[in-house]
Amino acid sequence: MLTAFAILIDGLVYAAYLFIVAIGLTLIFGVMKILNVAHGSFYTFGAYGAATAVAIYFDRGLPDAGGFLLMVLFAMILGLALGLILERGVMRLVYGRDEVVMVLVTYAAFLVLEDIVILVWGPGSYATYQPLLAAGNIEVGELILSNYDLGLIVVAALLAAVSYWALKFTRYGMLLTAVIFDRETAAAFGINVRVVYTVTFVIGAMLGALGGAIMAPKIAVTLGIGVEVIVLAFAVVAIGGMGSIEGALVGALIVGICRAAAVHLVPQVELFVIYGVMALVLMIRPYGLFVRAQPRKI
């Protein structure tokens, strides 16, 4: 019973972290049909932004809540700036090109941004543990759970709810949905697709940076964290279906629970289980769980 409970909580925590990172990625792909490798850089910048915020704020005797807000604010500002610069400065120049070219451009952007991180923050790592330890913990039987992790689940749930509401019940959400379904028809109906692209890309960047900011207190903020997370985010998006928010949520839950179960029960397969699940899903549903095969347009 305890193990089952532990698997559930650990799975939800991991799923929360993956969902926050993957939602931006799937949004960008759904609207713009771009597999944005630079999403890992948004995550990285968010983490470093949070590290900077923590260094400025914590350990000065100020209320901890302010520190959490400052972390998120720094990350969102960095995400906004990066998203704008990348979309307006680079991506708009290659719209309409072959998808492979788009991927290569985003990969090049990722490499450049990794070097910018070194220029700005140096090659060393940053410790950002203060929010994690400040949040405290709670005992549930033999398990001790971190309040920060439980908060992560709440944040992810809120983000999922807000995203769902925004897509289904707001004007902009409906415009976005129309562009996701059929960009050309949406343009024919007068939707300014270029503006939708810019706004979507920036929102995706901010969400990626938010993911980095939220994870920063749990990890050592160092070079390479973007690479690790982008591989996982791709797996989640592939399982759920590119461009599907519900798919990202379900994909994250599947990956999180399966991984947690593997760690508790069969740790030897922990590395393999995520990709094994992805392969299994794609064998049955080649476009992911929530996306159907699209007819080819001539």
Binding site: Y14, P123, S125, S146, K218, I219, A220
Partner: protein
Amino acid sequence: MLNRGSSLGGVLGTLWVLVSLLEVAIPPAQAQNAAPAAAPVKLGIVSFLTGPAAAPFGIPGRNGAEIMIEAMNAGKVPAPFNKVGFGGSNIEAKYIDEAGSAANVVTEFRNLVQRDQVDAVVGYVSSGSCLAVTPVAEELKALTVFYDCGTPRIFEEKSRAYVFRVSPHATMDSVAAARYLLAKKQDVTSYSGINQNYAWGQDSWRDFAGAMQVLAPKVTADKALFPKLFAGEYGAEISTLLTSKSQILHTSFYDGDLEAFVYQEQARALDKRMTILATTGEAAMWRLRDKMPNGTMIGGRGPHGPLAPDSDLNRWFQKIYTDRYSIPPTYPAYQMAMSLLGLKLAYEKARKGDAKPTTDEVAAAFKGIEFDGPSGKVKLAIGDGHQGISETAYGTYRFNKEKNEPEIVDIIRFPAECVNPPAGINADDWIKDGMKGAKC
């Protein structure tokens, strides 16, 4: 028709020009043929300068090289290393980033040897890099000294002629860890492990569990966890360990992963239930400071840093490093220093007169070398005289609140022959066979 006078004058004039030109040309050629004593020794220094392994290992290693080479070139290293450079020849170092795939690493190695014509390469943190470079070094007959990588396989798979490693390999760390644990906690009944899922982590656990099986067969291994390298998020692993009855948690995690794990386990008070045994913890203690749990059993891949024996050379090295980089040297810096000192001694032993020794001469002099450095005595006693062994030490971590500094207490030193396999025996076989011949 030739004018006899002008023809003679012309010939003399031409002769004069020719002689003048020859006077200018001949001395440099003569100098080259004589291989001047001042000809510098070119070293390639390879270490992680970017990426997750840079901060804990690559940069301290690079800094150790920089500070030692400067001191060597100034003749400021204490005796017996006080000759300028290598036997009077200044050292010129080229620093290369080890980051990238094994193919990249090998390409850069070839560039150093074939394009840059370095006299020796000193470097490599990753065991993967060392395994990839070794056959190439032998093929190119390039003198290569590995400074940090830990895999025992380098000299166990095959004899080497041009590859050396002054730093003992990882088996020493794991065997000493087991001995220290049993010396400090005689009542232990169960242990678990969390190690990265690649060669380093797998080998570390294998050797530690193997040594425990030999030294204390009644003590059982409970959870053996292998998260992905640089996973960063260890929530599920910590939950698993919280439900374990083990008193000890073995980990060979290093800096980035170790830091993340320590922060996450502290948030969930795992260290109140289990004592952590961190075989590479010394490299992280200056960063973790009061966040590393008091009571953590800590190793440093050998007698380095606070685990180093007290000596003039150690104190000198600590001072010059700390003065320059504002942080005490950690074990990668020590390993680099020891590697350079070993190479320097070999070079000076091989040198005869002013002529630069050949690679084969230096390799012959390096084989079986023994010396005292900042980390104490080391001898290239195994791997057919190419692999170093030394004593090692483990201790218990404590954050001294009065001094506001980390420190290691309850240090136990283990002789080299106690924790390293004898010559001619594979590390894994030695452990499985009950560590016969160990002299403790």
